[in-house]
């Protein structure tokens, strides 16, 4: 170098300035001395909750040392997985990666599985043998299933009778069974009682399967055996079914024999009314009762009901200090378990954690839930709600706000909402993973 050496150049402006001039700062993987001293947050789980929290922690405070542990290389989203069953999307379209978290937001994404947590020493143990120390831990492990809730239905049975309530190979299995079933066959869907992940998911699934069947196997039927007495957006769904798929979908509430108690996997038969009523399907989809993700339970964060009680402002566990539980695993007041609420909870939690590190009061949270469902490719419906912290410390829906799409809306409204449903998917995945 004729005029100036790199060493002199660095001396002139300082190492950080030189790096900045060459565009190398922002996402460095080797921690600087300053970064080592920065508070450490470990996020367990790379779904909507975990990914959003990791991103927004770094947005709120780019000096934080944020590590996200996720066992998979990417996240296959539950939102959109019913659209795959309807033939509107493929699996690739609902698969998100962590490139932006790593490259754009400076999150240290570790592909590994958490084996245990020591809350006393504040250490996370990984299956690779590595350990991660934290100042604050965020748990976003999603749901796991209560395999003992329905006689005959365990994890092995789900390889024959899919739940497809975690998107991925289960979605592909259910789709294959739908493709293989004969025209004139019966699809049985068995949703659980509340609380469970994505309350409008089962009727949207029935809608998307109906769309597939109407197009490909129009003599077929769908039977929903529900463990509930009512379901989300019920009137809107039922009106739409009458309009789009007349006579194809039958819904049976719990009190009329909808609650199943037993399954015979080999014959694809489900039993309700204490075994008095049997239904045999060509395809059976059982969505079992759920609880918080296993790692949250084993870390002592769950209550007897299997969900994790938290301070609803900061989402810090009320059972174990310095651990925040977000997303579907948390008991979040009136908030439903949805990708949208997981995204919002993650942001409120990030704001709370950053405030705690700064020694200032965490901001009052404000949450939104927006849930679109596609009944057909050009027929969308929605539910919306705003949630704020009540004086009792519980998140409550704001009275007079939110609600479902108007029942008497013109068809153009449904077309618009179908467009927004698909826009919502693009936006929320970009906000959480992009």
């Amino acid at each position: 170098m004729a005029g100036i050496s790199r060493r002199e150049f660095v001396k002139l402006v300082g190492a950080s300035g030189a790096l900045s001039a060459f565009g190398l700062t922002g996402c460095e993987s080797a921690p600087t001395k300053a970064a080592k001293a920065a508070p450490r947050v470990v996020v367990i789980g790379g779904g909507f909750g975990g990914a959003t929290c990791a991103k927004y922690l770094r947005i709120y405070d780019p000096t934080l040392n944020v590590t996200m542990v996720e066992q998979n290389a990417g996240h296959i989203t539950c939102p959109g997985s019913n659209w795959v069953l309807g033939g509107l999307r493929n699996m690739e379209a609902i698969t998100q990666n962590y490139n932006a978290l790593r490259g754009k937001h400076g999150v240290n994404v570790v592909q590994d599985r958490v084996t245990s947590v020591d809350p006393g020493k504040r250490i996370v143990y990984l299956s690779s043998g590595k350990t991660l120390e934290y100042d604050r831990l965020v748990m976003s492990p999603g749901i796991d299933f209560r395999w003992d809730a329905i006689a005959g239905y365990d994890e092995a049975a789900s390889q024959v009778i899919p739940h497809a309530w975690k998107a991925g190979s289960q979605t592909v299995l259910l789709q294959k069974q739908l493709h293989d079933m004969p025209d004139g066959g019966t699809v049985i869907i068995c949703p659980p009682a509340m609380p469970f992940r994505c309350p409008p998911g089962p009727p949207e699934r029935a809608s998307m399967i109906a769309y597939y069947l109407k197009t490909n196997k129009p003599r077929s039927k769908i039977l929903i055996l529900d463990a509930k007495e009512e379901f989300s957006k019920q009137k809107l769904f039922m009106n739409a079914w009458n309009e789009l798929y007349p006579g194809m979908i039958e819904w049976v509430p719990a009190s009329k024999g909808g609650k199943i108690q037993r399954v015979d996997v080999a014959s694809r038969t489900v039993y309700s009314d204490e075994g008095l009523t049997t239904h045999k399907g060509d395809v059976v989809n059982i969505i079992p009762p759920q609880r918080a993700g296993e790692i949250a339970v084993s870390a002592g964060l769950a209550n007897q009901a299997g969900w994790c009680p938290v301070n609803q402002q900061t989402f810090e566990s009320t059972l174990v200090p310095n651990i925040h539980v977000i997303g579907d695993s948390a008991v979040a007041g009136a908030l439903p378990k949805s990708a949208h609420t997981a995204n919002n909870i993650a942001k409120m939690t990030a704001a709370a954690i950053v405030s705690i590190f700064r020694g200032v009061k965490p901001p009052l949270p404000s949450h939104v839930n927006t849930c679109y469902s596609l009944v057909g490719p050009e027929y969308g419906i929605s539910i919306a709600a705003i949630y704020k912290l009540g004086e009792d410390g519980m998140l409550q829906g704001v009275k007079g706000a939110g609600g479902v799409s108007p029942v008497d809306a013109p068809r153009q409204f449904r077309v618009q909402e179908a467009g927004y449903a698909q826009g919502w998917y693009v936006s929320i995945t970009a906000d959480s993973f992009g």
């Binding site: 900045s20 007079g400 936006s427």
Partner: protein, 115 residues
């Protein structure tokens, strides 16, 4: 050692980087005690549909080009029903006038902050 013209450009760029860094460092220092505003908290809930920093990547409208005044009048229009919407009127009815001003002020100033 002579610094050539070519290198001057690099040095200026580097100094600008250094100045930028100083300014970032100053901001970072400020941010260490900064309280996250109510407007920002509410704004992050808008981002879920309208894109991070309001820069929507989808068919849902972007909001990062709205002035504070325009955003206030738009939101109030949704709430009163004067402005047609599919879902926004259901959302906006959950916020007080004060909250609308706070979130509109935050989002209306995003571009000034380089977001």
């Amino acid at each position: 050692m002579a610094i050539t013209w070519k290198h001057e450009k690099v040095v200026v760029a580097a100094l600008m980087g250094a100045v930028g860094l100083l300014s970032t460092a100053a901001q970072a220092q400020d941010s260490q005690t900064q309280v996250i505003s109510r407007g920002e908290v509410i704004a992050t809930t808008c981002y879920t549909c309208h894109g991070t920093y309001g820069a929507s990547p989808s068919s849902i409208p972007k909001i990062n080009d709205l002035s504070t005044e325009r955003m206030i009048s738009t939101l109030q229009g949704f709430r009163s029903g004067q402005r047609a919407s599919t879902i926004m009127s259901r959302h906006v009815s959950g916020y007080s006038d004060e909250e609308i001003v706070e979130v509109a002020t935050y989002i209306g100033n995003l571009q000034k902050r380089g977001k």
